[in-house]
Symmetry: C2
Subunit: 328 residues, 2 copies
C-alpha cells in the first residue's frame, strides 16, 4: 500500500512525529478538554441514582470510512461522535462521554489531529458530553477508534432491538438517503465539483447531525424498540424485525425521495431509492411505538406479524433494494 | 509498507475476507459471548447503588505493540485485556466489561480472530467480566482497540494520581522488569530460540498477568494514589509525583534484579536495571498508603517532599535509567 497522503489544505506545518506524543495529547485536550481526563482511567460523574452505563464503539479507517480529500478533519471528528452517539440514543440513553484512540503515521500533520479534536468537541458540546480519555500511537494506517458512554436512568426499559410488537407504528427521526446521495456526489464530482444546491447532501454524508436527546424523548413517550440507520435502512430494520420476531412494513410515500434527492438522482442518472433503502450512515433514529409518534418523529410504517419470506416490506412487497454496508 | 504476513502456525484455513463480517462476529461471540452484546449499544447491569462507571482504552498495532511471530493470537488477546484492566484496577475499581474494535486486512486468517477472542475470554473469565460489544472493519493494518469499563462503588475516593502525600509508603503488586527482559530475549533469540529457563520472562511480556481485585483491595485498605507500570517505572511514578506535587524515593534493594532477571541480563550482556527502571508493560500496580502495605503489595519506597531536580529518586539519587515508551 502507498504511504497515506494528506491534502495540501492541511498545510505543511509540523507533523505528529515532529512534536511527539505529549504535545499531540496537549493539542487534543486543548480542543476537547475534561477534568476527568489524564489519569489511568476516567471516573464518570454519578448520574441519577442507579443509572446504568451504556457503551458502544466504532472504528474509522482512512480510505475506507472517510477520504481525506472529501472530508475535513473537523467533519471526521463530528461524524465519529455522531455515529457513536446515535447508538447510545438508540438505546434511549443520554450520551455523556467519549474515549478516542488514534493510530497515525508519523507524517500526519498536527493540523489533522487538531481539526479532528475540534470537530469532536463541536458535537460533544451539543450533548454537554466530554472527551474523557484515549490513546495515541504510531502506525502505518490512520485509524480512529471512538467509544461512547451513555447513562440510562429511570425505570423504563432500554430500547432494544427485540421489543417491536405487531400493531405498533414504525417511526423515524431524521433524513433517510441523504448520506448515500452525498457519497455518490463526491464519487462523481469530487468535493469541489459538487453543484452548490446539492452540497447539503454532501454535508449530510461528511458531517451527519442528530438532534440531541431524541432517543430519550422517545423512551419517555413509550417507544419500544429502536435502532439507527447506519448500515442501510432495510438491513437495520431487518435486524429489528428478526430480533423482535415481527415484520416491519414501510409506507413508500413516507420515505419517498424529496426534491433534493430526486434532483441529485437525475443529475447522476441513478435511482434515489437505492440511497434510501440501502444507503445507511444517516444515523436516522428508527423506532416502534404503540402510541402517537414521539415529538420529532414521523410515522413511516407499521409492525405486523412475521411472515416467511420478508423481514421488512415496502408497501407490503419485497423492497427494490435491500443490500447494505459490508465490512469485508 | 509490505502487506502484513501471518505466521504458518495459524494454518492456511479461511480468511476473514472469505467468511465475511457476520461470520467473523459469530466466531468472536462464540469464544467470548455475552447476553449484553448484539444491540446498538450494551447496557451494563446495575452494580451496587450509585456505583460510577470507570473507562479507559488502549490501541494495539501489529508490528508495533505486538509481533505476530512472537505472540500467539491468544496472548495478544490476553495482553489487550490485562493492560486495560490494570488501568481500571489502578483507580481502585472493578473491571466488568470490554469493547473490542478490530481493523484487519481481508487476508487475516479466521484462526487469528478466533485465538484473539479466546485469549480475551480467558482473562475476562478471571474477572467475571464480559465482551459486550465491538466493531470489525477491513483495513490495510491490523489494529486492535480495546475499551475497558469498570465499576467503582462505595464512598471511598478513587485512586487518582494526585493523592500521594509526604510520609506515605510507596507499595507495589507484581513483578517489575520482567516484560522488558522478555522483549529483549525475543529480539535476540526469536520466540523459539529463547532458553527454556528464561521463558517465564517471555510469557510476562507476551501475556502479562495480574491478580484480579488488587486495586479494590488497596482502595479498601486506604491506599491513596495508584497507577500501573505501563510506560516505564520511572516514567509512571514521575506522573504520580508530578500530579501529587511530591517526590517518590524508591529503595533499590526492594526492586533489585532477582536471579531470573540477573541471569537474563548476563546472557544478553546487558544491565537488568534498564529493564526495571525503563521497561514498562509489566502492569504492576504502584500505589501509596499511610498504613501498612495492603495484602499482596510490598513496600518499595516512600513519599517525600518535592524537590526541584527529580520527581523520582532511587536511594535518594537520580535514577540510572529514566526513559520509557514513546508513541512517536
Amino acid at each position: 500500500m502507498p504511504a497515506l497522503s494528506f491534502p495540501d489544505s492541511l498545510g505543511h506545518g509540523p507533523t505528529v512525529g515532529d512534536v511527539g506524543e505529549f504535545e499531540v495529547i496537549r493539542i487534543i485536550t486543548d480542543q476537547a478538554g475534561s477534568s476527568l481526563n489524564g489519569d489511568d482511567a476516567a471516573v464518570l460523574r454519578p448520574a441519577s441514582p442507579n443509572s446504568r452505563a451504556v457503551v458502544t464503539t466504532d472504528m474509522l479507517v482512512a480510505g475506507r470510512h472517510f477520504q481525506l480529500d472529501w472530508s475535513t478533519p473537523e467533519e471526521i471528528g463530528q461524524k465519529a461522535v455522531v455515529q457513536n452517539f446515535a447508538d447510545i440514543e438508540a438505546m434511549g440513553a443520554r450520551p455523556v462521554a467519549v474515549l478516542l484512540a488514534i493510530s497515525a503515521p508519523p507524517h500526519t500533520p498536527v493540523e489533522f489531529i487538531r481539526g479532528l479534536a475540534k470537530g469532536m468537541n463541536d458535537r460533544l458540546e451539543e450533548y454537554s458530553a466530554e472527551l474523557v480519555g484515549g490513546d495515541i500511537t504510531s502506525g502505518d494506517a490512520l485509524v480512529v477508534s471512538v467509544t461512547a458512554i451513555g447513562q440510562l436512568g429511570g425505570s423504563l426499559p432500554e430500547l432494544t432491538l427485540g421489543r417491536a410488537r405487531p400493531g405498533q407504528q414504525v417511526v423515524a427521526h431524521g433524513k433517510i438517503g441523504y448520506s448515500a446521495a452525498g457519497l455518490a456526489l463526491l464519487q462523481h464530482f469530487g468535493r469541489d465539483g459538487v453543484p452548490a444546491h446539492l452540497r447539503e447532501l454532501v454535508e449530510a454524508h461528511c458531517a451527519p447531525r442528530l438532534t440531541p436527546g431524541r432517543g430519550m424523548v422517545a423512551r419517555a413517550a413509550g417507544a419500544t424498540a429502536m435502532t439507527d440507520n447506519s448500515d442501510g435502512l432495510i438491513v437495520d430494520l431487518s435486524q429489528m424485525a428478526k430480533k423482535s420476531g415481527v415484520r416491519l412494513d414501510i409506507d413508500s410515500s413516507s420515505i419517498a425521495p424529496d426534491e433534493l434527492l430526486s434532483h441529485a438522482a437525475s443529475v447522476l442518472g441513478t435511482d434515489a431509492w437505492q440511497w434510501i433503502l440501502s444507503g445507511g450512515e444517516d444515523h436516522t433514529l428508527l423506532s416502534t411505538t404503540f402510541g402517537d409518534a414521539p415529538s420529532g418523529f414521523r410515522t413511516i410504517g407499521r409492525v405486523t406479524k412475521s411472515r416467511a419470506d420478508d423481514l421488512v416490506t415496502v408497501d407490503k412487497k419485497t423492497p427494490a433494494f435491500s443490500d447494505g454496508w459490508r465490512s469485508f
